[in-house]
C-alpha cells in the first residue's frame, strides 16, 4: 500500500518537477567559476563612488593535472587562474556584474581570502562583512585581510609556491604563525569584534611590493595589522607592535625574539624562539581608578648566540637572558599599547570586554565614552615572566680560535 503510494507520489513529483521549471538550484560543477580569492575596493569612477569587486577564479582544467586536462593539450604556459574586476553601486551588484564578463556563474563557497582595499577600509568595512554574513554561500571561516593600497593588485600579484595567489595568501596567513608578526583572522571573529562595544576590530595587513627598493625583497608581504575604530580603518601597526598586541590577546604561537648578549653590549643579538606563551588580563578598581593588569608568561629556547664562548647553561647567564627576554617582550607590548592608546584611541585589546565582565555596573557608565575618554588614559600594568627552557644542540657558543 505504502509502496504504491510512494510510486504514485514519485510520478506526481516528477510531473511537477518537469512542469514547474527546469532545474532550480542545480548547477553543474563545470559551469561554476570557483572563486578562491576576493578583493573589495572603493573607487571613484566619473566622480561616483563605486565598489570594485575583484575575483580570482581558478581554471580547473589547467589546475587539475589529470589526464583529462593533459589529454586535450593544455597550453602549459597559461596561468591557472583568472583575475577579473567588476564595478557596482553595491558589493552584491558588483559581484553580479561579474556575469557580464565571464561565461560562468560565480561560486563563492570556496573563497579562501577576502582582501579589503585600504580606501574602503578607511570608509568602513561594515558593507563587506554584512555582505559576507548575509550571503549564504560564503564560509564563515574565510580569512580577512586589509591591503595597504588597493586590493586588486594584491590578487593580481604572481603566485608564489602555490598555483593560485589566493591560496598562496591563505597559506601564508597560516604559516605566519611561526613568526607571529601577523595572524589569521576569520570573518566570524571580525564580526564579533565589530559587534562588541568593549573591543575594536583589528585585521591582518597584506602588502604588495611590486618593485625592489633598498634591499627589501619584492612580492607579497604579510605582516603588521590594520587598526579599526568602529568599522573604519584608523591606522596600521608595525610587525613588532602587532606581536605586542598578539602577546596580550594570546595569539602568539611561535616566533623569534632577539635579545642583547648578557655582559657584552653591542650590535649583536641572541635569538630566542618562543615555544609557548599565555597571557591574562585582570581589571581591578583601586581607589576608584580602573587599572588593567596584563600578565604574560612566556617560554622559549635559545636559537643562536653570536658571542663566542658564552655559556648559556650558566645560571647567571640564563637569568640575565630571561630578564632581557622579558624586557624585550614588555617593550613590544608597550609599543602596541602606546599606539593604540595615544595615537588611534581604539581598544583593540578588548580591555573593555574584561571590564564589562568583571564590573558590569561600572562598565555601563563607561561604555559610551570608553574609546575616547577612558581607554586612552587607562593605566595598564604589564608584567612579563619569561623563561628559557632549552639551549639547542650545542653547549658553549662556538668560539673561533
Amino acid at each position: 500500500m505504502v509502496r504504491r503510494l510512494v510510486v504514485i507520489n514519485m510520478l506526481i513529483t516528477l510531473i511537477i518537477m518537469s512542469a514547474v521549471t527546469g532545474c532550480w538550484s542545480r548547477r553543474e560543477i563545470e559551469t561554476l567559476a570557483i572563486v578562491s580569492g576576493v578583493g573589495v575596493d572603493l573607487v571613484e569612477v566619473d566622480g561616483k563612488r563605486m565598489y570594485r569587486f575583484t575575483a580570482q577564479v581558478v581554471k580547473p582544467g589547467q589546475l587539475a593535472g589529470g589526464e583529462a586536462a593533459g589529454g586535450r593539450g593544455g597550453g602549459g604556459v597559461q596561468k591557472p587562474y583568472l583575475v577579473s574586476s567588476t564595478l557596482g553601486k553595491t558589493i552584491w551588484e558588483a559581484e553580479r556584474n561579474f556575469t557580464t564578463q565571464t561565461s560562468r556563474k560565480m561560486f563563492l563557497s570556496h573563497t579562501e581570502v577576502v582582501v579589503i582595499g585600504e580606501k574602503l577600509a578607511r570608509e568602513g568595512i561594515q558593507p563587506v562583512l554584512e555582505f559576507i554574513q548575509r550571503k549564504h554561500d560564503f564560509r564563515e571561516t574565510t580569512l580577512l585581510l586589509v591591503a595597504m593600497g588597493p586590493a586588486d593588485t594584491t590578487l593580481m600579484a604572481a603566485a608564489g609556491l602555490e598555483k593560485v595567489t589566493a591560496r598562496d595568501i591563505s597559506d601564508m596567513v597560516v604559516n605566519t604563525r611561526r613568526a607571529s608578526v601577523s595572524f589569521p583572522l576569520v570573518t566570524r571573529e571580525a564580526i564579533s569584534m565589530l559587534q562588541s562595544s568593549g573591543s575594536q576590530a583589528i585585521l591582518p595587513r597584506v602588502i604588495h611590493i611590486p618593485y625592489g627598493h633598498k634591499g627589501v625583497p619584492t612580492g607579497l608581504r604579510l605582516n603588521g595589522a590594520a587598526v579599526f575604530k568602529k568599522d573604519k580603518l584608523v591606522g596600521w601597526l608595525t610587525p613588532e607592535e602587532t606581536r605586542g598586541w598578539m602577546w596580550v590577546t594570546k595569539r602568539v604561537v611561535s616566533g623569534v625574539v632577539p635579545i642583547p648578549v648578557p655582559g657584552k653590549p653591542g650590535e649583536n643579538r641572541i635569538s630566542t624562539e618562543i615555544s609557548r606563551a599565555t597571557a591574562s588580563i585582570t581589571p581591578s578598581i583601586k581607589n576608584g581608578r580602573l587599572v588593567i593588569k596584563v600578565k604574560i608568561n612566556e617560554e622559549g629556547g635559545v636559537g643562536e648566540i653570536p658571542a663566542p664562548g658564552l655559556d648559556p647553561t650558566e645560571p647567571e647567564v640564563v637569568q640575565q637572558m630571561e630578564q632581557f627576554l622579558a624586557e624585550a617582550i614588555r617593550r613590544e607590548v608597550l609599543a602596541a599599547l602606546r599606539r593604540a592608546q595615544e595615537e588611534y584611541r581604539s581598544d583593540i585589546f578588548g580591555f573593555g570586554d574584561t571590564v564589562h565582565r568583571a564590573y558590569p555596573k561600572v562598565w555601563k557608565k563607561m561604555e559610551k565614552r570608553w574609546n575616547e575618554e577612558f581607554f586612552p588614559n587607562l593605566e595598564v600594568r604589564v608584567e612579563v615572566e619569561a623563561s628559557i627552557r632549552r639551549v639547542g644542540m650545542s653547549g658553549k657558543a662556538l668560539s673561533p680560535k
Partner: protein, 547 residues
C-alpha cells in the same frame, strides 16, 4: 495431503472416463455416482482399486496413454497356483537392477517356498512380509495413490485378485552429486552444498543436526509438478505462531507448478511490492542448519538447491555464514565494512550527483578543482551521466552473468577496462564518475546476500533521479520513504527491522555491529529464538589450566 492430491488429474480425466465406468461397475463397495463435474477433480479419490488385474491395467493404460516412458511388466507369480501380477513404473526413474532383484526375482523364482495356505489367505501380505526385499514398501488401496506413486518414481506392484497394490521405493535417476556451493563460497567452512534432489538435501541436514527434534514436514505443491516441499525446523525451538503462519501461507497456494523456490518465495512473502527480500536464501547445509538452530524454519524445495529461510530480519542479510567460522575480531571488522558497503551500494552515485550539482561547497577545494577539471568538456549533466553509467554497468553485469564463464570474464575486461578507459579519454564521461560507479558496483557485490544487493540496485536509480532534482534533500526524502516502508514491514510476523527497531540495544550490538565470540553467545537472537533462548552454558571462555 489428500486435499492437494485431488488436484492432480484435472487434465487426465476425460480420456479416462470410459475406464472409470468400468471401475465403477466392479466396485460395489463404493456407492457414489460418477462425479458429474466435467473437470472431475474428485474423480480419483472416490474409487478404490479393483480386485481384477485386467481392469486395473486397462484403467492405467488409459490414464497413461501416449506416455512412452510408462512401462507395465506383466508376469506370473510363481506359486503353486500361478497368479497374474504386474509392475508399473516410469522408465529412467528407478533402479532397474533393484526392480529385478527385489521384485521380479523373488516373486517369480522364490515363491514356491511359501506355504500355499498362507498364500491363499492374504497374498499381498505374504508378498509384503516374506518375499519383497525392500525397505520402502507401502500398501495402496486407492487409485489416486497408485497414480501419485507411479508418477513420483516408485514402482507399483499389482496382483490379480487383490484390491491392494504395493508401492516400492526404488527411486534412482541421474542427479548431480553433492558439490561445492557456487554462489556462497567460503574460505573456511564446509564445502558441500545442496543439490536438486530433496532427499539428499534433507539427508545433508540430518547429518548435521542429529536430533529427534529436527522435523521435516512434507508438502506437495503444484497441480502438475507435485513438487515436494519440506519444512525443516527444530521442535520446541521454533515459534509455533510463525510455523502456523508458514503452514497457512503454503497451504493456500494453488499453482500449476513450482520449479524453483522463487515461486514459493513470491507466493508467501509478506510485502509483495517491496524491493527488499523478507526471506533468506541459501544453498549451504551449514547455513541452513545454523538458521534452524536459531529457531527459524527452512523451506526446502525439490529440484533446486536453493532453500528459503524464514523469518528473516534485515540485519541478517548482512551476515555471511563464514562470519561465524572465522575468528571473531575479523568478523567484527567485516560487519562494519558491510554496513558501509550497504550504504555505499545504495547511496554513492546519488551522493556524488547531489554533491557535485547542488552542494559543491561541501567538497574540499582541491577535490572540487580536480572534479571540475575532469568534468570540463563532458557533454552530459552529472545526473544523466550517472544514469547512463549505471545502465552501462548493469548491462555489463548482466552480460557477464549469462555468458559461459570464460567469455564472461572477457566481457567484463572489455567492458570495464576498454570501454571505460576509452570513454574517459574521449571526454564522454568524467573519470570521477567512472570511479564512483565502479566502486558502487563492487560495493554491491561485497554484500553477502545477492537478493538484498539486487533490491538495492533497483533503488539506486530512483535515488539518483531524486538526487538530480533535489540534491541531498531528495536523497533524504527517498531514504525516509524507504525507511518508513522498512519500518512497517514484517517477515512472518517478526518486525523486519528488529532489533534496530523496535529496538533492543543489546541485540543491535550483538547482531548488527558485533559478532560476539562463541563463548559469549549464550543466547539465541531474541526476536526469533525466544522459545528457548539459552544456546549454551555460561563460562565457556577458554582459560589457561589452573595449577
Amino acid at each position: 495431503m489428500k486435499k492437494d492430491g485431488r488436484l492432480v488429474f484435472r487434465k487426465l480425466v476425460k480420456p479416462v472416463k470410459a475406464a472409470m465406468k468400468n471401475v465403477k461397475k466392479q466396485n460395489s463397495r463404493k456407492k457414489q455416482e460418477l462425479n458429474p463435474d466435467p473437470t472431475g477433480i474428485r474423480t480419483w479419490e472416490q474409487y478404490e482399486l479393483s480386485a481384477c488385474l485386467e481392469d486395473n491395467l486397462q484403467n492405467l493404460r488409459a490414464v497413461f496413454r501416449d506416455a512412452g516412458d510408462f512401462f507395465i511388466r506383466e508376469f506370473t507369480i510363481g506359486t503353486n497356483e500361478p497368479v497374474k501380477a504386474a509392475v508399473l513404473f516410469f522408465e529412467g526413474l528407478n533402479d532397474k537392477k533393484l526392480v529385478v532383484d527385489a521384485i521380479l526375482k523373488p516373486l517369480i523364482l522364490e515363491m514356491r517356498e511359501i506355504p500355499p495356505e498362507l498364500w491363499a489367505k492374504a497374498p499381498i501380505r505374504v508378498i509384503r512380509e516374506r518375499i519383497l526385499c525392500s525397505t520402502d514398501l507401502n500398501e495402496l488401496t486407492e487409485w489416486n495413490q497408485v497414480i501419485e506413486r507411479v508418477l513420483d518414481a516408485e514402482v507399483v506392484l499389482l496382483v490379480d485378485g487383490s484390491p491392494v497394490a504395493l508401492a516400492l521405493g526404488a527411486k534412482e535417476w541421474e542427479a548431480r552429486g553433492v558439490m561445492q556451493p557456487e554462489n556462497e563460497a567460503t574460505v573456511r567452512g564446509p564445502r558441500h552444498s545442496f543439490n536438486e534432489t530433496l532427499r539428499t538435501n534433507t539427508a545433508l541436514l540430518r547429518r548435521i543436526i542429529k536430533s529427534p527434534l529436527l522435523k521435516t514436514e512434507s508438502l506437495y505443491i503444484g497441480r502438475h509438478t507435485r513438487t515436494h516441499v519440506v519444512l525443516a525446523y527444530l521442535e520446541r525451538l521454533v515459534d509455533e505462531d510463525v510455523l502456523a503462519e508458514v503452514h497457512r501461507r503454503l497451504s493456500r497456494i494453488e499453482i500449476d507448478g513450482v520449479l524453483e523456490s522463487g515461486y514459493l518465495e513470491e507466493l508467501i512473502e509478506d510485502n509483495p511490492y517491496s524491493p527488499f527480500p523478507t526471506m533468506e536464501i541459501s544453498e549451504r547445509p551449514d547455513k541452513v542448519a545454523a538458521a534452524i538452530l536459531e529457531g527459524r524454519i527452512a523451506i526446502m524445495t525439490d529440484g533446486t538447491p536453493v532453500t528459503l529461510i524464514v523469518p528473516t530480519l534485515f540485519v541478517q542479510f548482512l551476515e555471511a555464514s563464514e562470519d561465524y567460522y572465522l575468528r571473531y575480531p575479523t568478523s567484527i571488522i567485516v560487519r562494519f565494512l558491510r554496513l558501509l558497503v550497504l550504504n555505499a551500494a545504495l547511496l554513492l552515485p546519488s551522493l556524488y550527483v547531489a554533491v557535485t550539482t547542488f552542494h559543491q561547497e561541501m567538497i574540499p577545494t582541491p577535490l572540487l578543482i580536480s572534479i571540475a577539471g575532469a568534468r570540463e568538456g563532458t557533454p552530459f549533466p552529472a545526473l544523466v551521466e550517472a544514469l547512463l553509467m549505471e545502465l552501462a554497468f548493469e548491462t555489463l553485469r548482466e552480460a557477464g552473468l549469462r555468458l559461459p564463464r570464460v567469455v564472461g570474464q572477457a566481457v567484463s575486461i572489455v567492458g570495464a577496462l576498454v570501454i571505460g578507459e576509452a570513454a574517459v579519454r574521449a571526454g564522454l564521461v568524467s573519470s570521477a564518475m567512472v570511479i564512483v560507479v565502479a566502486f558502487t558496483g563492487i560495493a554491491s557485490f561485497a554484500l553477502p546476500s545477492y537478493t538484498m544487493a539486487s533490491g538495492l540496485r533497483l533503488l539506486r536509480f530512483p535515488m539518483i533521479i531524486m538526487a538530480g532534482f533535489l540534491g541531498l534533500y531528495g536523497i533524504l526524502l527517498l531514504s525516509l520513504w524507504i525507511l518508513i516502508h522498512l519500518m512497517s514491514m514484517r517477515s512472518f510476523g517478526v518486525p523486519y527491522l528488529s532489533p534496530i527497531s523496535p529496538s533492543n540495544y543489546r541485540e543491535v550490538i550483538r547482531m548488527l555491529l558485533m559478532r560476539a565470540p562463541w563463548w559469549a553467545q549464550t543466547e539465541r537472537p531474541r526476536v526469533i529464538g525466544h522459545q528457548d533462548s539459552r544456546r549454551q552454558v555460561e563460562g565457556l571462555k577458554p582459560r589457561p589450566p589452573k595449577r
